[in-house]
Every structure is written in structure tokens, then in C-alpha cells.
Amino acid sequence: MTSETGNTLDVAAVARLAELARISLSDEELQRYSGQLDQILHSVDKVGEVAADDVVPMSHPQPLVNVTRPDVNKPCVDREEVLRQAPAVEDDRFRVPQILGEE
């Protein structure tokens, strides 16, 4: 199904997005989600029908500005309590699998 904007979420597009979102989807998931997402995309396309250029986008429900805190220290969290929750730990650090990529 092609949406009103002409955008589609076919299997290839979903696969590319899944990679960007770091989710290793199975082929079955890719197929299933692609159909569902395309349908959802079609239903949300109507946002393009309203909202002219002169409408200011709203990113916050309340118009607050300049919320800051003073530059002071407060106690940190107990390291052991945090490391206990980690999947793998070595030398008081979080152990993570091999990183491929740049130096």
C-alpha cells in the first residue's frame, strides 16, 4: 500500500530502519511489521493536510524557559549497587563485547 505522501515502508525500508534502531529483526518480523507499519503510516499521513508554514511547532506542552541548577556536587550513586545490575563487569567497569569500527 502506498501512503498519501507516496512514502512506503516496504521490507527493505524496514530493514534499513531496524539497523538504524539496532534491532536484529528476523525475516518473519520484517515481513509482518512492514505490512503493519505501512498501514500505520497511511493513517498518520494526514498530518500533512493541515498546519501551514506560519504555525509554530510545539515541542513542549508548557512554555517554560531557563530551568537550570546551581553548579554544586551532590552524592553519587554507590558503585557496587550499579555494577550489580550490569550484565558483565570487570575491574569495576562495565564489560562490553568487542567493538568493530574505528579506532
Binding site: 538504524l20 518480523e29 498530518v47 508548557q62 550513586v77
Partner: protein, 505 residues
Amino acid sequence: MSESAISLNTELIKSSASALAAAIAHREISSREVTDAHLDRIEQVDEQVHAFLHVDAEGARAQADAVDAKVAAGDELPPLAGVPVGLKDVFTQRGIPTTAGSRILEGWRPPYDATVTTKLKGSGAVILGKTNMDEFAMGSSTEHSGYGPTRNPWDLDRIPGGSGGGSAAALAAFEAPLTVGTDTGGSIRQPASVTGTVGTKPTYGSVSRFGLIALASSLDQGGPCGRNVADTALLHQALAGHDERDSTSWAGEYPDVVAAAAKRDVKGMKIGLVKELSGEGYQAGVSQRFDEAVKVLTDLGAEVVEVSCPHFDYALAAYYLILPSEASSNLARFDGMRFGLREGDDGNHTVEQVMGLTRDAGFGDEAKRRIILGTYALSSGYYDAYYGQAQKVRTLIAQDFAAAFDQVDVLVSPTAPTTAFKLGEKLDDPVAMYLNDVATIPVNLAGNCAMSLPIGLAPEDGLPVGLQIMAPSFADDRLYNVGGAVESALVDSWGHDLISEVPAL
């Protein structure tokens, strides 16, 4: 257990939070007895209802005993002293398993309390445990929980609403007199509607989001759930307030909602019916009960007029772009590196692969669909057409509300278009599922406040129907005044409250 003990316990679990707080303060009963009665009830019925993901019996009893010691010492008591509450599993509680309904967080014990948790403790409440929810609050049925669905106490084959189905069902099943929920697109109000209970989405910024596991940061808001308006007001007052750890928290004045709940006076008030939130798509019994509730308001002396909010028709579309976009970013941290599930770390997979495998294994279908959609809406070349455009729709919806509140004091609509549907009915049709939130979403987009309260059972299926009341930002007190008035008039006309009609479990 003796017969008198059973009847005493039945009385305890059916009592209002206000009555329990008063009885504890007046030493008519101990918090420990009240707490034990609720823990027993959970033990008896939660296998059927599945409202709780974790019950902290030990912690609850300790907190109850601490309150009882204070009572014995004659100390001044905070407002909810000794009253049991259920906490939606989306709030962190130090040392207590917190999953947000997701397998990806299975076994995680946070090292810190959410501000809501701190406030509950400070108000003397006894936290019974963590209530079930759709994974990361994505859903309208609790079927998307990674730990199995919650069932509706009115009919165990039906959904209790979502995402806060656990918090709502716990109330309807008398497992707790008060629970805390969160409302991103209706997750407090829609479950309240389909379970015959009360729930409020406070004005955005009223209840701290610190420690609330974020779904969509600009929409999420914690709030109170209860079995009546006065109880809900008590919890609302306990949760609301400025928090310096949440940059979006409101530092100004807060209305007194407890006083408003007792006021119950709508004479001379102007009430607006939202034209766009009625008619087609609304179940007949829902419309019928809604019309009757509007008549109640007229009878109480309010002036009812129809108002139009033309951009509400675009709310669902804007919502299903903004929410997935923010969610795709908020849920990125669940990558198996620092906490929670890790999948495929066998020495043969790279960190990129382990993250991908972890997220595939840990997230359910709905979470994955929304993350993909949000990733798309934010991606280069599509941002303006989707996320940017959705934020403009948001502005238009806020303008619609502003124009409406120039004419009327509050707006009303049915909370949900239908009564509780059957488990599984909409699970594979995301768009149909999303339509449940059509009436609740505009408030989340604009940031103002709304309440749902029960207004009867739909004649065709005998299931609860909810009335939604919407008020301007930081006029949450109007919800409680109007809600209290409607509730009191309906209870008078029925001769009992609606929740007493819930079938025995």
C-alpha cells in the same frame, strides 16, 4: 480465618482510601491490618486478574508497622498514612524489581527512587507492589505486557484497558484502594473508563517525571487512580508538586484538588460538548450513558453548549508520530550494556550485534513497531513531513483548546469510544487498537488535564462507561469539582456506587 475476620477483611478492602486513612489515624484499625487484608486479597485473586508484576509484602508490612508506630507515638500523620497503594511498574523504586512491563528489564533493581515513589513514601502510603502494564506503556489493553495480560475484573475475558490496566484492575478487584498510573495518550483514563474506576491525567508538569521510565517525554504524565473522586483527589494532591530534578516540572501555583472534590458545585458553570468526540465510531451504549451524564450536569445547574475543536481530527495522526519518535530515542538506552537483558554475548558477536540481538529478544512487537516508525519519522529527509508537521498539529490542537476554554469552563466527552473489548480482539490490528485513544489523546498533546469517572454500564454488554472531563492547564481543580458533582448525583440516583456491581471473583 473466622467468619467475622472475613467480613472485616471484605469491609477493609472495599473501603475508600479516605475512610481507611481516617480509621488508621483514629486508631480504629492498624495499618498492618489494612495492609495484610490487601496482601491476602492479592494472594486470593491476582492469579486470575494479574494486576501485579511484583508484590513487596515484606516492604509493605514494614512500612505499615512504621506508620502504626507513629500512630502509637501520637506523631502527626501525613495524609495517606497507612493506606496501601499499587505503583505502576514504570516508576523506579530502589531495590524493587522495575520492568516497565518489558522483558528487556527483567530482574532490574533500580538504585534510586522515582520522585513519585519518594512522595508516596513521604505521604505515609504503603506500597504493596508494582502493577502490570503494556510494555513501556505502549498499548490500550495491557496485552502488550512482556509478562502476560491483566484481565478486567468485570469480565475476565476482556481487557482492562491500557497501558495502566494493572493499576485500574487492581482497584476494581479490590486489591488496592489507590494506584498510581501514567498517561501518555490515555493510559490512566481509558483503563479507568473500562474498569468503572476513576483516573486523572494531571496537567503536564504537575507530577514529576523523574524516575518515570520515559515513553514520550513531552506527553508522559503520572497521575492518580482511585475508586471514587475524593480518593483520587487525595492521591493527586500527594503526587503533585514542583521537582527540581525534572526540568519540565511546574514551579508555579497548584490548585487544591481535595477541596475541589468536596465542593461539587457546577451551578452556573459552562460545559462544552466536543463535537468531534462523539457520533460515528462511538458504541451506542457509550453514547447513551454519556448523554445521560450530560443531562445530570444540566439538572445540577450547569449550562451545556456544543463546541468545535476541528483539529482534534488530526490528533491521532500527530500522536502516532510524536510518540514513536520520542520513544525511539528514549528506548535506545535499553541496549544490554549497563543493565537488564543481554543476548548473544558469546565471544563471537560484536557489540553492535549483541545490542541488536538484545533489543530483538527483549522488546515485544508493539515496542519494535513503534521504534521503527519513530526512527523513520525522525530520519533525515522525513523529519519535516512527519515529526515537524506533527508538532504543528500539536500547536493547532492547543489553540483549539484555548478557543474552547474561552467559551466554557470544562469540556466533556466519552473517555473511550467503546466498553472493554475481548482479549486478542485487536492484537494484530494496531490501527484499530490506536482508535481507542481518539478522545484521550488531544489532552496529552496540548498538555492540559482530564479525568475519567464511571457513569454507568452500557445496556448492551453491562460493562462500565467513562465520562471524560477536560480542563485548562493548572485548573485540575475543575475536574474534581465537576467529577465530584456528577459522581454524587449518579450514586444518589443508583442508590450505590457503580464499583459495588463488579462481579465477585
